[in-house]
Symmetry: C2
Subunit: 244 residues, 2 copies
DNA sequence: GAAATTAGTGTACTTTTGACACCACCTTAT
DNA sequence: ATAAGGTGGTGTCAAAAGTACACTAATTTC
């Protein structure tokens, strides 16, 4: 079979070259609020004027021979040292004008071999209990820290929109799968559990009805332990064990 | 800001070049079975020996300045002349070994400017009532036709897996959104409606309970018309109007 | 020991779900 | 004309799930 030149009969065979990246929206729960993991785009040690560089969601280019899921994992752990956490692909973002801000273009010029190339990114979201994961910045992240969802600033590229979609998808998934336990510490109180639901779903729930449902839930087991160091009646601690 | 060479401190800035494609899994319902729209990879008029070229889901490369959703629409209509139908992005497929079959490599050599380049594809699914859309092949599709889901042959690339995921996502979405109406003809019977649910969900439903639910559904309105040309009692026809 | 704060508990009503069986109407064959 | 085959069309009851609602208990701080 020869390489017949077909570009005339096949209209869309014209070449386009893309870079491919992964962006990880990592949600964390601290017992009170829902937070997102953000990095500051810069090398560790670099101190830029604060308006010069954007915050961003931890993301980077996919390597030539790498699977997407692997890339998500590698990139997250490279930038924030969070390893082995639940990561779920939720959406590709490919608008041709994803990168329009001058600051973003500048950053690409510094850190990317082909700064003008169009880049399509695959969004992953992820769930983590803040108390169990302390991010440490490395690679081109000069900082990596939790940021309460309501305080998220203007981010690089289209990362604000990416977080928005990630949250929406998280909401949908929480109701159906057992994803939510990824967001809780190993030992949690029913109060935290309920607050987490309320935060993710964005509405308040009835305490007694909520607890009724928890009783019917598989895998949520009470421990022989109570909360400590709180300024009120200590709550029973529970944990989650995956049912077979 | 200069272009400081940072490749040593930034481990993953090494260049990777991707082609990006879109693959459309179009489900159609004929009142009986669920079908998928497949094309035959070849130019119209070309008659190849049947084992020489693969069937595939209609997909192609994204153009340099094109939005993903636009690309999905363009590609579907270019290959099958189905225009303006509901298309939903559901998943990116990016395994490095997506293309392993010799036939597929050969095909890429004929039809793609950079046949060796890694290509990541974005899967879209789509829903259509077969009676209202007659596919006509064009561009590199030498055929375009409906194929019952259970008869789908071995397809090009990882298209079998793509259909599988698309179906799974369709199932999830049907229960929550009003997507299902895209699959029905404008006028439909409750029998077709129920069969469609059963087929998509892969289980049988109770007729009376089903109809009870339909009554509670917004937007499903009875017409002043009955089915014709059937060899049994003709059914009441219904239609769907989007509620405000 | 009073005040503040969260934990923890049960009941009655409504809504939803699921199981279940028969007659009606149309076509075709005799 | 009538019988047979096939799909259309209908209601009831019981169980499960959802929803609204208010008070006491345990702990800390002052």
């Amino acid at each position: 079979m020869q390489n017949v030149a077909l570009n005339k009969t096949v209209p869309n065979a014209s070449a386009a070259t893309f870079d491919l990246s992964v962006d990880n929206v990592v949600f964390g729960f601290d017992g009170e609020k829902l937070q997102v993991l953000l990095i500051r785009q810069g090398l560790p040690g670099e101190d830029m004027e604060s308006d010069r560089f954007h915050m961003a969601v931890p993301g980077d280019l996919v390597l030539p021979e790498e699977d997407l899921d692997e890339a998500a994992d590698r990139i997250l752990s490279t930038l924030t040292s969070l390893k082995g956490i639940y990561l779920k692909q939720f959406q590709a973002f490919g608008a041709p004008d994803r990168v329009f801000d001058e600051k973003d273009k500048e950053w690409l010029t510094r850190f990317r071999p082909n700064p003008d190339r169009r880049v399509v990114t695959i969004g992953y979201y992820s769930l983590v209990s803040i108390s169990e994961y302390r991010p440490k910045p490395s690679s081109f992240a000069s900082r990596a820290e939790w940021c309460p969802l309501e305080d998220v600033p203007r981010l690089a590229f289209d990362h604000n929109a990416i977080i928005e979609s990630g949250l929406q998808r998280l909401r949908e998934d929480v109701l159906q799968r057992n994803i939510i336990f990824e967001l809780l510490p190993q030992k949690f109180t029913l109060g935290q559990f309920q607050r987490l639901h309320e935060i993710i779903l964005g509405k308040s729930l009835d305490k007694r009805n909520f607890r009724k449902n928890v009783k019917r839930m598989e895998g949520v087991v009470p421990l022989d332990e109570k909360q400590e160091g709180v300024l009120h009646k200590p709550a029973q601690l529970y944990t989650y064990r995956k049912p077979d």
